[in-house]
Symmetry: C2
Subunit: 354 residues, 2 copies
């Protein structure tokens, strides 16, 4: 830290992304990326003539992408905005809808970035503990007079709430925005996007990084009432209006248009997830009921720290946190059927050695 760093940010503790090591080739099951390449339509869309046009700024209104997304999700274009990954949309939303007097509420175990954004923006955070089995007790979220952010399904637990339950949270917080982070919703959970036209205090955020195989393109969408979207754009235009690359806008459109490939990829991952879950149980793991492209698992005997380390030595990356309540868990991204077969083989040899 330099002597110039703002004292307003003294307590800022940045987010730690999953490792992206460059030293050798790993079976990379640590950052919830898709094992499938982007749609062929994406590859066709990013042709030489489009690369040449990189000399021009992108459309800051993301008109064509928003049109495609609006059609895909049966909304109006005014109900959609786009960000440089879901992270940017979440950051803009938290900045737009929170203040010193309107704190941000979220579960104690969830995506680690929510608390970082709150710190960055000087917003008090209210962490609400999950139950002992990592569930959200929805009644604890009623009438909070807060802005609320809930990942659904939650990460790293993988557990989802029903749309009915989320609707109850939305209805019981008429004076606060409820942000639903649907990064993982396409792997078996229910989306709240159909509720957008019904509530003025619901914001839903989705990403292209998981189910649409575009983590490297950086693209996310936010859905909400015209007014909420306009608020987010007010922050966006006060931070970085040209926030999305021209090629990313095209990639996003092409990916949204290829519904068939999207269905194929998500179904394959769900199948591989269920197979892997069964195998893990046979090896002595207990698991949460994941509706995501990852599994959250704890071994009956061996500590996750040791399994993690040995897996890494053998060329497999998964993720774990030295955090209360979850320190003995591993989060394992679901790859292809073949990836997971290989993973289970290597895991077996780790458990034998430990």
């Amino acid at each position: 830290m330099s002597r110039f760093f703002s004292d307003e940010l003294n307590s800022l503790s940045p987010y730690t992304p999953g490792e992206q090591p460059q030293d050798k080739k790993y079976l990379k099951l640590n950052t919830n990326e898709s094992p499938f390449a982007p749609s062929n339509e994406v590859i066709k869309a990013l042709n030489t003539s489009k690369i040449e046009l990189l000399r021009l700024y992108p459309d800051p209104e993301c008109t064509l992408l928003r049109k495609t997304a609006a059609k895909r999700f049966s909304l109006s274009e005014e109900n959609v905005t786009a960000g440089n990954g879901s992270d940017e949309n979440l950051a803009f939303a938290i900045r737009a809808f929170c203040s010193k007097d309107k704190q941000l509420a979220f579960p104690d175990i969830t995506y680690g970035f929510y608390s970082v954004w709150a710190k960055l923006f000087g917003i008090p955070a209210k962490q609400i503990p999950l139950t002992d089995d990592f569930k959200i007790n929805i009644e604890e979220y009623f009438n909070l007079n807060c802005t609320i952010v809930i990942a659904n399904p939650n990460a790293p637990t993988g557990i989802s709430l029903s749309v009915d339950d989320i609707e109850k949270i939305v209805v019981n917080n008429p004076d606060g925005v409820v942000i639903i982070d649907e990064a993982y919703v396409d792997f078996g959970a229910e989306s709240c996007v159909p509720l957008i036209n019904k509530y003025d205090n619901l914001l839903v955020v989705q990403t292209f990084s998981k189910s649409r195989s575009l983590a490297g393109a950086r693209l996310g969408l936010a859905f909400g009432s015209k007014e909420l979207i306009s608020d987010i754009n007010r922050v966006r235009y006060s931070f970085n209006p040209y926030n999305i690359n021209r090629l990313t806008l095209l990639a996003g459109q092409a990916a949204l248009d290829d519904e068939e490939y999207f269905s194929y990829c998500t179904q394959e991952i769900c199948k591989a997830r269920e197979w892997t879950a069964e195998e893990l149980k046979k090896l002595g793991f207990t698991l949460t009921q994941s509706k995501t492209n990852f599994l959250f698992a704890k071994h009956c005997e061996k500590h996750s720290r040791d399994i993690y380390r040995l897996l890494r030595e053998k060329g497999v990356l998964v993720r774990r946190w030295d955090a209360p309540r979850i320190e003995n868990y591993l989060r394992i991204t679901v790859g292809t059927a073949e990836d997971m077969k290989k993973f289970i083989e290597i895991l077996k040899s780790c458990l034998e050695e430990l």
Copy 2:
């Protein structure tokens, strides 16, 4: 605005980017983009195999791009960080080095975003008037006890300071960071990057949007002491660590490596600028001494508002602001020699009609 919008941002007035109309094809001289396509090396770098890898997150440390940039600018990798356009680096720097007690100082006429970021982050702004001929009186920037941001060359005036003058500002503000925004430096001004190793309070920001023909890719670099760069990364990792697209990282590297094409493009633009300036003088315009890829010009008789409107009707976009002191000026991006010949022809017909 929704009823949920944070009252902390009530006075926020977003930046207005130059228009990007989709209604017809214009001779687009309004947002200082390059008239030249990106380097052929960029086009080669973004091949199908690289597009397929969009399924994976980008390297948040931007290792290879920083390595290339460090070599190109004779610095160490620790002196470089990358942003989603210069705008993001500037925003991160202002957030990192300002606070309620450390205000942000900048000229009254300059890039309009500096004051927007100050508002967004709740930082008081100190605007220092340019002289009557739009120059910076460097002594007014000595010992301010502020963080200072100066665009060099300045926008929209196009006028540059010498490195000696900037060094005096840096030396005379030992307790404040001096941010030099070199968005336009490659068109004839002197860069302060060689001073980076000499001062711990100098941050230099450059962009790929102008001289490297990559406005649509969104990429900027920041150069400073290891400590300043680490501070910016602390903010970056608290906002959006995966801030740069995989393809953009590759495009940036390829563009930096193709020095020959970079020299060709910047020289062509400087030549076209000088030719256009002479033609404008013949038509009754007075101009500032631009060291950028734009001209800042005022007609002796006709109001810029009328010229702007008629040019637009005839398919030419330039930029103007309804702002004190500069409301009678036009900012004209310099395109190819051919673009500028066409521009002068159309401008002549406008002046005849007005």
